[in-house]
């Protein structure tokens, strides 16, 4: 009797766990639109430090991780300014090449005088 019921209970438990996981995912809006996903990520980011603190207190580890130094570097701004500099240099390149050529020719002429 028990031998027949056990696989059924096992399957029911597995289905329950899988169904619960799917329900939690659906209910928390993780499979919804972009806005819902961004909100869920924000909530997760906000929830991680207190959760880490709780676990550290639970295990009796009182050490504090050093905070990351705040960098003033903004990658997007640096990239954008780099692109602008590259394009403006490329657009100025022919004019500058002509100028440098004239200057070098003048320099060589002055040397040979």
């Amino acid at each position: 009797m028990a031998a027949r019921i056990l696989p059924v209970i096992k399957l029911t438990t597995k289905l329950g766990i899988a169904g619960g996981a799917l329900y939690v995912v659906y209910d928390s809006g993780l499979l919804g639109s972009s806005e819902q996903g961004a909100v869920a990520l924000g909530k997760a980011k906000a929830a991680v430090p207190p959760a880490v603190d709780e676990w550290m207190k639970y295990f009796g580890v009182e050490a504090q991780f050093p905070t990351l130094p705040k960098m003033e570097f903004a990658p997007l701004e640096a990239w954008n300014s780099g692109v602008r500099w590259t394009i403006s240099s490329m657009s100025d390149a022919p004019t500058k090449a002509v100028d440098y050529t004239h200057q070098s020719i003048q320099y060589v002429k002055d040397l040979t005088k």
Binding site: I17, A18, L30, S34, E35, G37, L41
Partner: protein, 75 residues
Amino acid sequence: MSENELGKKWDRCLADAAVKLGTGLGVGIVFSVLFFKRHTWPISLGSGVGLGMAYANCQNDLRSHYMIRKAEKET
């Protein structure tokens, strides 16, 4: 579409992609452990589905600016 709006949309897209990839991975792991004897393919399938959903959402979000909605058409 202004640059600010476009930037916000891209931020939302990336955040959504991270969330959906993680969710797909998690659900794939659960199914792999429970039903499929710890094979890798449910994990890959879950991650792929998550990424695909994020891509579709992102595409819809980026195109939505240029869609003429029925309510706007009627007014």
